[in-house]
């Protein structure tokens, strides 16, 4: 997990965002993942997203657990505060950080081992609490750092390089999220930055936990014939019927390609997610219909991607607990301590 600093001087003039920063300002150290790793594409999409959103780097807090995916926060937004925690525990730390300071933009990077095995309980309960954060699962169906064991997302019949095909049922984080009351569920493919970036922007605008399951092939241990998490399998089986554009707040709204199909969702901060194309009868607000659609596609061996479900009305953990609009870490001590007079008074009932 060594990290190599990137040279900071650009060779050509790069475009600047509203803060006057280039995309290079949103990068981190050079990746030490395997060449061709899907995770690096996700890193690139995250970098691009934060740059395009002109998000001040210091307002971003990036967290991760343990595993290949969890190494990636080192590789984006070097100006953000980062926390590489313990295996499966990322979201518990993120929940506490968010509880103390709701004003930052939290992004958690996890993997299928981190989130669907050792940290499954924490993920489920963070979804229920609706912690306001982006939660990315870089999902490759395999344990990379320990050299290629099946993870809990491996499909039945999927094969490792060696050994028997997987015989036990996979955990699909999207179906899990639907049953846990998730308020934002998306699936994407690391090989498709054009799809992933608008989803990430919508996730950043979402008020609550935005779960993004990114199929991100492991070129070393799970990109072979017989794998259902390979580049080839995804290219052949991905169904991109649900496509979205993200329209930032106060920006001119460009007309969607298929205007007649367009469904718009106004996010909490006023930005708009526009569904460019959805299959007939698809309703991203309808938990039951979304589940039926995903199951139907799955039964045909297809993987539906896109922004699959949104509930922008739900309250996040702070709204549920009626905390101040600013961070609890900002409340001055004088407001927190009832003082000696109150202590004397309350002790009258201790006699």
């Amino acid at each position: 997990m060594t990290s190599i600093a990137k040279p900071l001087i650009p060779l050509v003039a790069l475009p600047k965002n509203d803060l006057g920063l280039t995309v290079r300002d949103y990068e981190g150290a050079v990746s030490t993942l395997c060449a061709g790793c899907g995770h690096d594409s996700v890193t690139a999409a995250i970098t691009h997203t934060f740059w395009e959103l002109s998000m001040p780097p210091h307002t971003i807090a990036k967290l991760s657990g343990i595993g290949c995916s969890s190494k990636t926060p080192t590789y984006f937004v070097r100006g953000a505060h980062g926390f590489n925690s313990a295996h499966g525990r990322m979201v518990t730390i993120a929940t506490g950080a968010n509880a103390a300071n709701r004003e930052l933009n939290y992004i958690g990077i996890s993997g299928d081992g981190d989130s669907l095995s050792i940290g499954l309980g924490h993920l489920a309960h963070a979804i229920r609490r609706n912690v306001n954060m982006i939660y990315i699962i870089e999902n490759n169906g395999v344990y990379g750092l320990t050299k290629g064991q099946f993870s809990a997302s491996a499909d039945i019949g999927s094969r490792l390089k060696k050994g028997e095909p997987n015989a036990i049922a996979p955990i699909d984080p999207i179906l899990l999220g639907l049953s846990m009351g998730a308020t934002f569920l998306a699936r994407s493919f690391s090989g498709d930055k054009a799809q992933l970036v608008p989803i990430l922007k919508a996730a950043a605008a979402h008020n609550g936990l935005a779960l993004i399951d990114v199929i991100s092939p492991c070129v070393t241990f799970n990109d072979h014939e017989g794998s259902t998490k390979s580049y080839r399998f995804m290219r052949e089986h991905e169904v991109k019927e649900i496509e979205t554009d993200f329209v930032p707040i106060r920006k001119e709204i460009h007309r969607a390609v298929d205007e007649h199909d367009a469904t718009e969702i106004t996010m909490h901060d006023g930005s708009v997610v526009r569904f460019r194309s959805v299959p007939e009868g698809y309703d991203p607000y309808d938990r039951q219909k979304v589940e039926e659609y995903i199951r139907d596609r799955r039964s045909r061996g297809e993987i539906a991607t896109g922004l699959l479900y949104v509930d922008e009305e739900a309250l996040d953990v702070h709204e549920l607990n009626n905390t101040p609009r600013y961070g609890l870490n900002q409340v001055p001590y004088e407001k927190l301590c009832p003082g000696s007079a109150a202590l004397t008074t309350m002790q009258e009932s201790f006699r």
Partner: protein, 615 residues
């Protein structure tokens, strides 16, 4: 009726103990604490110990009241009066009474002849019968039996009837119906005892003035108050006996003292905001994770748990230690190992907490002895955690946490300023060329930290993996060792900052006794009793870890040194020996680990039997 006076021979004033044997879930707890509270209100030192089962209804449960004018209110093992309300435990309860003592039982049914003892006096009160005659509702008939026996006890030990009646009225101030039936039941029991027995018995109370300026409080409430006053805003927790009441109380206190009014609330918005966030986690792993996240972000944050919870938290406690994140963990200890006896007390998490997590770790521990120290040490825990950027454990126990104690009133210094430790803000960062997380150590080997959201210059990447002093990943031996060596020195530097040991010398003592936490009262009483038996002892109660050098010196200065604690494996003795280098074989253990609070007799017996063996 005999009219007794204090001058009468063989009469003991304000020096006796009562044991009440009940069935849990029948409402006896309120009657028992009523008696204890009444004694406290009469100005007499008293303790009440609830010895209860891990069960909601139907199992045996006991309550012990010890009255002692000198303030020795550790658990007594000699019972002058047994209130035998549970026929299932008659035999053991009757056997428990000291020679010459009394047994009060429900004479609605006859007592088996083979239960009778010649050396005790049986006081039959037809409680069930009286309650059936006087109350209509089935539940009332059961509940009122408790208040009725309390009424009998009031007469038997000479409690002020009007005072007890007044207390009952306070308790049921808002419920007229219950108030009336309770008063009725109290009077029925009282009158029956007055009419049928020689009241008061040869041991009794007499009002004194030893509890003015004192309060009656349990350790869990006091701990919650400490966390409130320390300014904790975020708490993560998972329900567990005997710690649950810490967070129940914190929640209740926050709802009362931490709501800030909102001017002009938006439509649908409440007219106040909560300056706190308490998260009931899915497990203790998550609870400590939340604490670390919140502390990383600069909020004062804590969790409360018991041994099984600490076991689960181990992984993240190591992360906090190695990455230097403050955390306050309240461990209300119960009897282990495993599930153990959840409603019994012990001090068996000392080593677990001192070295929690894999790898080389050492933590700061505080050992409160009573609810007052729970309050004070809870506040200090936050100061120490933030000053030393590390987890701090406050090791309370079930006896301290769940029983009511008479302690001096809690006081608060309004000039208190929280020690937030070394935290750099954006102004500080602006004056610096560069910031690296683990450089610029102070005299205590603490390095300054930044909080998430601070300027980019202060941004760094926390990692539980090997890191150098710049916070960068490393697998280099020297770089790794440089950081962990500083952590060891940082821990040692905390020694003078944890609460200092309490030491009390007796003239000419060559025997020393070291103890901790809830053993305090029993050991003090033992010191007194040993002196009466001609064994002069010096007393040391350690109140924090790492140890100051006084601890080793105390051991060295005594020909014989005992360590008294409530666990099987002499964990405090081991910790002292490991950390001070004092030879373990020169420390003699007196151990009590059956799950009940320590009594002086156990200490006296342990000390004397060793000294006799020696001579």
């Amino acid at each position: 009726m005999a009219i007794d006076t204090a001058q009468e021979t063989n009469v003991r004033i304000n020096d006796f103990s009562i044991k009440l044997a009940n069935v849990n879930g029948t409402g006896s707890a309120s009657a028992n604490s009523l008696l204890m509270q009444a004694i406290f209100r009469m100005g007499i030192p008293v303790s009440g110990k609830n010895l209860f089962p891990s069960n909601i209804q139907g199992l045996p449960t006991w309550y012990e009241i010890r009255v002692n004018k000198s303030g020795y209110t550790a658990r007594a093992l000699d019972y002058d009066l047994m209130i035998a309300m549970n026929s299932a435990t008659y035999r053991e309860d009757i056997n428990d009474v000291r020679e010459g003592g009394y047994v009060l039982y429900d004479s609605s049914w006859p007592l088996d002849a083979d239960l009778l003892r010649e050396d005790v006096t049986f006081l039959g009160v037809p409680l069930a019968k009286v309650c059936i005659e006087n109350f209509a509702a089935p539940r009332e008939r059961i509940l009122m039996k408790n208040i009725a026996y309390a009424g009998a006890v009031v007469a038997l030990v000479g409690l002020d009837f009007d005072l007890v009646s007044g207390l009952l009225a306070e308790t049921f101030a808002k419920n007229e119906l219950l108030r009336e039936s309770n008063q009725n039941a109290l009077r029925l029991g009282y009158q029956f005892a007055k009419d049928n027995f020689e009241c008061p018995l040869p041991f009794r109370v007499e009002a004194m003035d030893a509890t003015s300026g004192c309060i009656l409080i349990d350790g869990n409430t006091a701990t919650a108050l400490g966390c409130l006053y320390a300014g904790a805003t975020v708490a993560g927790w998972y329900p567990i006996t005997p710690a649950t009441a810490v967070m129940d109380n914190f929640t209740r206190l926050c709802a009362k003292y931490r709501r800030e009014p909102v001017e002009n609330p938006l439509p649908g918005e409440l007219p106040y905001k909560n300056n706190y966030l308490i998260l009931q986690a899915e497990d203790e792993i998550s609870a400590i994770g939340m604490v670390l996240g919140a502390s990383w972000s600069g909020a004062r944050s804590f969790t409360s748990t018991s041994g099984p919870g600490i076991s689960l938290m181990n992984e993240l406690l190591g992360l906090a230690y190695y990455t230097e994140i403050p955390a306050v963990i309240v461990d209300v200890q119960r009897t282990g190992p495993s599930t153990g006896m959840p409603t019994r007390t012990q001090q068996a998490d000392i080593l677990l907490c001192a070295y929690a997590s894999h790898g080389d770790t050492k933590h700061i521990l505080l050992f409160p002895a009573n609810p007052r120290e729970c309050f004070e040490f809870a506040v200090q825990s936050f100061d120490l955690a933030e000053r030393f950027q590390t987890p701090v454990f406050m090791l309370s126990d079930l006896d301290i946490g769940m029983n009511d104690w008479v302690v001096p009133e809690l006081t608060w210094d309004d000039s208190y300023v929280p020690d937030r430790g070394r935290v750099l803000n954006d102004t500080d960062l602006a004056t610096m060329a560069e910031f690296f997380r683990y450089t610029d150590a102070d005299a205590d080997f603490v390095t300054p930290r930044t909080l998430p959201g601070s300027d980019e210059k202060g941004a760094y990447f926390i990692r539980g993996s090997g890191h150098d002093k710049f916070g960068k990943y490393t697998e280099n031996a020297d770089e790794y060792q440089e950081v962990v060596d500083r952590l060891k020195k940082k821990h040692a530097s905390a020694a003078p900052h944890v609460p200092a040991p309490i030491v009390e010398h007796t003239k000419g003592a060559s025997v020393g006794i070291i103890t901790l936490g809830g053993c305090d009262l029993a050991v003090r009483e033992a010191v007194h009793e040993l002196a009466e038996r001609g064994v002069a002892t010096d007393f040391m109660r350690v109140r924090g870890f790492p140890f100051v050098s006084d601890v080793r010196r105390f051991a060295e200065e005594h020909e014989v040194c005992f360590v008294v604690e409530q666990n099987r494996d002499a964990q405090l003795r081991s910790l002292i020996s490991i950390e001070t280098g004092f030879p373990i074989e020169s420390l003699h253990s007196v151990l009590a680990y059956g799950g009940f609070p320590l009594s002086a007799r156990q200490v006296v017996d342990g000390v004397l039997s060793h000294l006799e063996k020696k001579s």
